[in-house]
Symmetry: C2
Subunit: 344 residues, 2 copies
DNA sequence: TTTAGCACTCGGATAAAACGAGTGCTAACA
DNA sequence: TGTTAGCACTCGTTTTATCCGAGTGCTAAA
């Protein structure tokens, strides 16, 4: 459907536009080293490319800009592997070299590097700790009415929430409940805790605790999982440097959207194992109409537990970002695996 | 120095400008109900006010805008108490009426309401939990090299960090250390933990633990306080609606500054018990040149533990914001006191 | 099939002109 | 003596006209 020359021209236009953010004319393309033919020839091919929907004009006599379809083609077929610069390499190395003790720390750092090396905004979800196993639970009473439940997993992840204390609970029973829970639930993955509570703990609880109904629902509350993974952002303000966001309204729409945790969640969560690239209107949300999002899952012990992603203008440095996201999702997975493996 | 009429005119100009964000002319002032004299008279007084440095012109034949000095005068002398609208009242009521179990929850909610009711950005620091007392500490080993230290205070606050485990530690010693710490340190305020570690725990530790030096420094690390209070923001994007921030560069400076936690800290921390109002360049930081910041401390058991604040343009609805910040700092203190008091 | 040549298009930059909100000043007035 | 009406003047904003040039499409020649 497209000749090799047309593909070459398309690629040149896209890469030029990614750099300049200005419509690209036939003359400037003809000056590139890789291009040996004249502006007129290029113009002919440009007209063809436009007919096929890969190029657009901002007005009747302007240069061309790539369409969304063009970026898609570029990403799918024209992309060359990216070589990291030395600086970038150093940055990435040092991220994964440092002694990291906590998963959350690793995740935050990754978000930072990601936004620093691109000039876009980074979003990192997770890590989802449902897979990790209960190491210890502690229920500490705070006054008469409330208690703090602290859950520590074998990956070093700590989750805590405050729970209302049922008034019927006898003195000393709380300690007993804690003991039972630790005895019966240790080693069980977080996502199975609720289920295990009924299969493993209920009957024991019945035996030892007076008002067993209240105690059970209290315990259930104490073990409830947090609504969803945390979201970490990096370099949100980078977006303000992009010429496509010099319009305040557009920026506002974007930044407001990023405050809506559940929307961001919906957006990044469906990243299939591997990498997802959504260009412009491929993002269902209107605020991302002029954005591309590149996201990849990272995993722990082989299972995906979170997502890292980059948000930038559709005119994005795809090859660099794709390599980077790829690389970092990989690296982050390794770091997490190291943290995990220290247990065994 | 200023006549009553001049003060009245100044006040009218300020209030008009706060609404419109446009230079105010003599004619529009003369039309107000509270004003009975002619534009010419007003012009004369305006000229005087300008000479005294309370008004400025954007160009030689423009209307006047209030100077920073004018806002200062307005805030110090002209401000009337603000009556909350019914909607606002409802919002505030419901904030403090709901069953709140955790301090952090209360603080977040406050930030939310604060930004929602003003159209500015809210910043909330804290609460600083140094005053609250250790209820329980748990040190949970995670593999060979690390352990998670979880501290629960009598206010239900949970802090945790991961600490590298000294390789010399014998099996079982960790449990012993935990027991000693709980026995000796319960009830001690967080800010005294480090000190108490040496005065109360060191010698006992010496007796029971083999490699006591390593254990001590390990324990010290486990008890270290987190660097500083958390910062919660609300409605950052509200700022983008203000006409003074239609300039992307200014917004960027502001948003970037807000990412710098330690700077925000320095900025809000010196809020004296009571309320601090910083107008325009009274803020040392350049990015806040066109902003005013109104902040107040909130307290727990009579001691200030955090700060709530509003950032908006110098052209701010001072009376509303001041009342609101005042009110909410008060309300938040009460909520925290309730949380605290449940212990006794 | 490629390329040189050329008329044409249209956004953006620049200049000139019209507009109008608002001022300062002067002189008359209560 | 303080207040006000009147009026010329200022200056940023908006509008209109003009020019410029990057870039196109088309045609005809190589």
């Amino acid at each position: 459907m497209l000749t090799d020359r047309q593909l070459l021209i398309l690629q040149s236009i896209i890469e030029d536009y990614i750099q300049s953010a200005e419509p690209v004319g036939s003359r400037s393309i003809s000056k590139k080293n890789s291009i040996t033919f004249s502006p007129a020839t290029i113009r002919n091919d440009m007209a063809d490319l436009e007919e096929h929907g890969f190029l657009e004009k901002t007005h009747s006599s302007s240069g061309r800009i790539p369409s969304q379809k063009a970026y898609r083609l570029y990403v799918d077929r024209l992309l060359l592997p990216y070589r990291f610069s030395e600086l970038e390499m150093n940055n990435i190395q040092s991220l994964f070299a440092g002694k990291i003790l906590e998963a959350e720390e690793a995740v935050k750092e990754t978000a930072g590097i990601l936004s620093e090396l691109t000039s876009y905004a980074s979003i990192v979800l997770g890590p989802e700790m449902f897979e990790s196993r209960l190491r210890q639970i502690q229920i500490v009473p705070i006054g008469k009415e409330a208690a703090v439940a602290v859950i520590v997993t074998d990956t070093g992840y700590v989750e805590n929430h405050t729970v209302a204390l049922p008034p019927t609970l006898e003195a000393g029973e709380l300690e007993q409940i804690t003991n039972i829970l630790n005895e019966r639930l240790r080693g069980i993955p977080l996502y199975q805790l609720q289920r295990a509570l009924f299969s493993e703990v209920r009957d024991v609880l019945k035996r030892y605790v007076l008002n067993y109904e209240a105690a059970l629902s209290f315990t259930e509350e104490a073990l409830r999982k947090s609504r969803h993974e945390k979201i970490f952002y990096g370099g949100k303000t980078n977006l303000l440097n992009q010429p496509e966001f010099k319009d305040v309204d557009r920026v506002r729409a974007l930044l407001e959207l990023m405050e809506e945790e559940h929307l961001i969640h919906e957006l990044l969560k469906p990243t299939i194992n591997g990498m997802t690239i959504r260009i412009g209107q491929e993002n269902t949300n209107e605020a991302f109409e002029h954005c591309s999002i590149i996201s990849a899952t990272y995993s722990l012990a082989g299972k995906p537990v979170g997502t890292i992603g980059i948000v930038g203008p559709t005119r994005m440095e795809y090859q660099k970002v794709i390599s980077l996201v790829n690389h970092l999702s990989y690296g982050l997975s390794n770091v997490l695996d190291d943290l995990y493996r220290r247990d065994s």
